[in-house]
Amino acid sequence: MQNRERRENAVLASPLVLFLVAILGFPVILSVIYGFSETSFTTLTSPKFNGLDNFRRVLADQDFWQAVSFSLRFGVICAVAQCVLGLFLAVYLAPLIRRHGWMVAILIIPMIVAPAMMGLMYRLVLHEFAGPIPYYMYALFGWSPSFLNAQNVFTTVVVAETLQWTPFAFLLFLTAYQSIPQDLREAAAVDGTRPWRMFRKIELPLMAPTLFVALFIRFIDGFRVFDNIYTLVGAGPGGATTSMSIYIYEAFLRQGDIGRALAAAILLFGSAFLLLALAQLFMRRAT
């Protein structure tokens, strides 16, 4: 029995594993070699092993830590904001959506737009002389805030990211909310449970796994943010909007420091892997 299960598991895992090995095997091995070598674009075929040198340089780099801090703050704030808003919209609008399905299509438009293009759109929309927002601000108040200066740029990119990706959380919650068995709600309603209590005691616990998944996905996506920030403000004045992805991208392609870029990527992957592996272990113990 044990043996058969093991064989079955191997068969079940094989498509994914084989695909990963075929596509990423060679790139990953080469990249790990580069991570431990002195490599630039001219020495791709003759990387010089230099041990942990790249890792030391990354860890001593102030910009790296600034990028880590930016990405963590950005990821957490955006994930929470998106999930709160998405959950609210899904639950609050569900009765309407049940009758008017097209509403979903309207609400998910933002996430359909390519993030790089969304960044470009904000460049236009927020422009003091060509953008409608400053235009109406000036028309109404004779004044408009500076959306992208050093003080405000973080808030602006957080808001832009949240507005674009709240639909993602909304869609996950909507599906989860709609798959809650109707008889549970009916039973509670017969008992005279008020809507808010019903939400807290019955619906929310049933949606908990989805809530967890949504928070996690939105955090990862916020953490690795690249396109929209890059097209909107680039690395930011003094590197103020340098996310982890932007840091790695610039080190890799712009500065040609392949060793450092890959060391940073390996550190990122390694720490994320450890965290998630521990979380999985912990959850399995708990159940």
Binding site: L44, R123, E128, F129, N149, V233, G234, P237, R254
Partner: protein, 432 residues
Amino acid sequence: MTTRHLLGSAALIAFLAGTASAEVTVLGWPGGPEETALRAVADLYNARPDVAEENKVDLLFTSRDGFFDKLQVDLAAGSTAFDVNLIATYSIGRYAPFMEPITLSDEAGAVFGDTVLSTMQFGGQQYGVPTDLSLHFLYYRKDLIDALMADDAAKAKYADIAEQYLGERLEPKDPAEWTWQDFAANALYFSQSVNPDSPTRYGTVIQMKNLLFNMMVFHSWPRSYGANWMDDAGNITVDSPAYRTALEMAKMLYDAGATPPDSTSYEYAEANAAFTSGQVAAMIQWNAAAAELTAAQPATSTFAPPSGPDGRFTHIHGLGLGLNAAAENKDGAIAFLQWLSTSEAALAYARAGGAPGLASETVAALAAERPDLVQVGEYASTYGFVMNGGTSENALSVYEAQAKEFTGYWAGTQDLDTTMANITATMTDLLK
């Protein structure tokens, strides 16, 4: 059956590969007049009777976004997708290891002149044929400045503002005589935060986004105060009174509200949008913007950037075409590049809308059709400069690092001493 099928497809692949290498594929700068001009000269070249069928030129254009990042990957991975590719002055050093030096036609020296040819040289060797030259103009609203100069009350106010911010009473002048002090005084006078009666909201637009091209626009300023990247002995000289003065003046203008508060996110498109809206009195911008800016604000005039104690300067850089070391049809590619450096090709390129930097004798033939090229050629030869180290292997990274550090200072996230210490350290590392 299967074997025959395989053989068939192998033959097909060989056939396709064969046709691909039988042409000269040229990777050009996409969009804009450069593309139009390259198409025109390629047609001209292909129509020549002495060009064999297998040496005809086929053009390839990709995206402007990430163009140089893609080119970097293509070259480093030994791509054979093109035989000839675009290079720029600031990136020659980076791409040279994957390219081959070329010999130009005998007349090239007379056609382009040595200054322009040198924008395509690295390590003493010629890596490309110069095609387009970029430099900077001072764009200003003649209507506004004429009105200012005709109004005594306004002149007095101008002098007051200059005294308050710059420490000396300045008079409005014709922009052709401007120093950077005049530029700053004008920028302040035409800003509503300084002068509530100003007809424009801002006196100037400084492009302060953390982007390497913005550093090129900025460089004419410190250079006119004597700045250079390094001296002849190879010592990094970025931490100089010249750089400090220019950086401080730019920050003063930003803090005073003489350039939009969002300037720290402005690049080419944003600055043009600000100028064309009519809310800006004068700015330094690429020569390529001339048509767009003049079309939207007909009173726009142009001149070379203002002067400083060391004279008047404009940062120049060139685009050109060079030979991919992994090219499959090298002979064909070299033949095309040599032809491209003849006066026949250069003139055709200019007539089709390109902006080659041409020697004065060459450009004389075009004076009637392209007066702007005469101006570009004149400014390039009189005021043009490339920083010491500006064509080195890491020049691109130097601009990148400066963009990060200088914009950090302007935005107020770090002070000037830190900025100077950081950039000196980085540049010492990059230019050693």
